[in-house]
Symmetry: C2
Subunit: 350 residues, 2 copies
């Protein structure tokens, strides 16, 4: 029998972290009688006087959120990382290793209105978000080894506030995911003398099987090794290393690309598509300021949980937690569906 | 300032996979206005004529589930792994690596009654589950490199059927998690000439900070490197390598231990406590039959998602997916609460 990727289970390797994913496309037919998500609809009021992210509202700690009219950044009132804490004592026991962790956590509102999301904001408004990301990155990257900009969108992805916002967590150390990427990208560069993601994009542009959006500055693909059903990677085509490398034009095109991609997501299941997304680029801070970043390519990753509809998600549980990630439809099938999904007109717009 | 683990954020290393977790205990105070889970209560009828896992009910594929009176095992009707599939073609491109994956997936019902769970079953009934695990393992481990026994309990953990059951997925290859463990355990053994988890248990028994249950055959701890709020490890104290090594007495004590641990879980937030759990031991199949398993120690891992109550869970999203796992309360605090939770009388029993 001939191997057919859309029919026959197989494993694929993620060269960025060395981990395999099990692809079982024949499993899409299975009935679902488990938990159903509440479909996320845009039902927020424009202004909610009880929502601490809205302009002019008092937060639990008594501070009043400014009456902002574009983006707005403030320190997270319950940060996972603080700047000043004592270090844990050193231990020579390999089974009880602790290490210091310093940093800070900021919340960044995208827009004063609670009932907007990136796909329903204008390109100019998204551009303001990108400019603010870069201002924050410029400030924080001087001091911290890793500045993680990320957005949890939708209750299904643990977002605790429906107002359009993201978070920026800065770390005095390189966390596990970027640390693994750093090693893998460096090893590839040492062998091939080219950044891995540059080679990867080249081949994706030839094969045309997993492309979702393509323009002169940005490429969006469902990676060959995607874990989440409609996972995508948004990659810089200009050999940018960090988000603050972007030129004016590249920022503009990024705003256009983000609007397109998130519109495609929303249109796919006619809902406000939940996801976690974030930016990865070369490490920063005094420690990495003089290290080569030639092996890096700036990219964002989108991890959306939905599998079959606005209410049926993929759970990363049992086998996934204990053995390895498993996906149902193939990355090529997901890319096809995202290509076919309209990226210009949002399903809610008239 | 003096470092205090319950107050000051820090990182801890998991020696079983080399990954760090960020511990931020000061974050427990943060308010929660995100998604609330439906508290899982034992509201199932004893028999549901529409549930394909109940005795005598017809499954979607037309096969009738036997009228069983203890455990019952059948092939998953929508398996992620099949025995006979063609292999993907070999590729010499490091960015597009695929590999074969063969196996099978079984469903194992714990009990004929839909309204029971492990903590509300008798020790004798749990013992029957353990004996069936071992029968299955004996049969499947001859052929497959990895036999993953796991239970997804509760809708919050993606369980698609409320009838008490687990799954057994067998693989022709070693999945990522056990592969990493295999390497780490082997390296530790090469240096220390003792199995890592043997040394680990010894130190936990001295320190007494993270113990939840202790008896002559089994130790339950919240591991020093736990990621999920109330994660536990149930470890064999008899240097067992695989689940089918267990003596009659060890199996009996395992049934007692599982009943205690799951009762503690249910009593903690007065709900049917959701989790994913599974067994890890030395690899199997023809490939590993003659390899040394001296570095292994049989253990089960419980990953429960709840954080603060029956309705507020920990989400592993944004920062966790893109950077590294993060937890709020310390493993020591979690262990204390599980120790204090009653392990003998279930909150629903009269
Ligand atoms: O097989 P089930 O119970 O239908 O499915 C559940 O467990 C599987 C194994 O962990 C996961 O792949 C699924 O996402 C989850 O919903
Ligand atoms: O900071 P938030 O939005 O309250 O919290 C959310 O994002 C964090 C960072 O990914 C996670 O640690 C939390 O589990 C999640 O609920």
């Amino acid at each position: 029998m001939q191997f057919v990727a859309t029919e026959h289970q197989h494993r694929r390797l993620n060269p960025l972290n060395g981990q395999w994913v099990l692809v079982s496309p024949h499993r899409m037919q299975r009935p679902w009688s488990g938990q159903e998500e509440k479909p996320q609809l845009n039902e927020q009021p424009e202004f909610d006087p009880t929502n601490p992210l809205c302009p002019g509202v008092k937060r639990p700690n008594g501070i009043i959120t400014e009456r902002y009219d574009s983006t707005y950044v403030f320190d997270n009132d319950f940060p996972a990382l603080l700047e000043q804490v004592p270090s844990p004592p050193a231990s020579d026991d390999p089974l009880f290793q602790a290490a210091p962790a310093r940093g800070n956590c900021r919340v960044m509102c995208f827009h004063p209105k609670s009932n907007l999301t990136l796909p329903t904001m204008s390109v100019m408004e998204i551009r303001a978000v990108i400019d603010e990301w870069i201002r924050q990155f410029n400030e924080l990257s001087g001091k911290y080894a890793w500045v993680q900009i990320f957005e949890n969108k939708g209750a299904a992805m643990g977002c605790s506030n429906p107002h359009p916002h993201c978070q920026i967590w800065s770390c005095s150390f390189l966390p596990t995911e970027p640390q693994q990427k750093q090693e893998r990208l460096r090893a590839y560069y040492a062998t091939h003398d080219r950044p891995m993601l540059g080679d990867y994009m080249e081949r994706e542009l030839q094969r045309k099987e997993r492309i979702v959006i393509e323009n002169p500055d940005w490429l969006v693909v469902v990676p060959y090794w995607a874990i989440w059903p409609f996972e995508t990677m948004l990659i810089s085509r200009n050999n940018n290393k960090r988000i603050n490398d972007l030129t004016d034009n590249q920022r503009h095109n990024l705003a256009v690309t983000i609007k397109q991609l998130t519109t495609k997501y929303d249109n796919l299941f006619k809902c406000s598509f939940p996801y976690s997304m974030g930016w990865h680029g070369a490490p920063t801070g005094p420690e990495h300021a003089h290290a080569s970043s030639a092996h890096w390519t700036l990219h964002a990753i989108y991890y959306p949980p939905l599998l079959r509809s606005a209410t049926v998600r993929k759970f990363m549980v049992g086998f996934e937690l204990l053995a390895m990630p498993q996906r149902d439809l193939t990355p090529e099938q997901a890319a096809q569906r995202l290509r076919d999904s309209d990226g210009t007109k949002h399903y809610l717009s008239k």
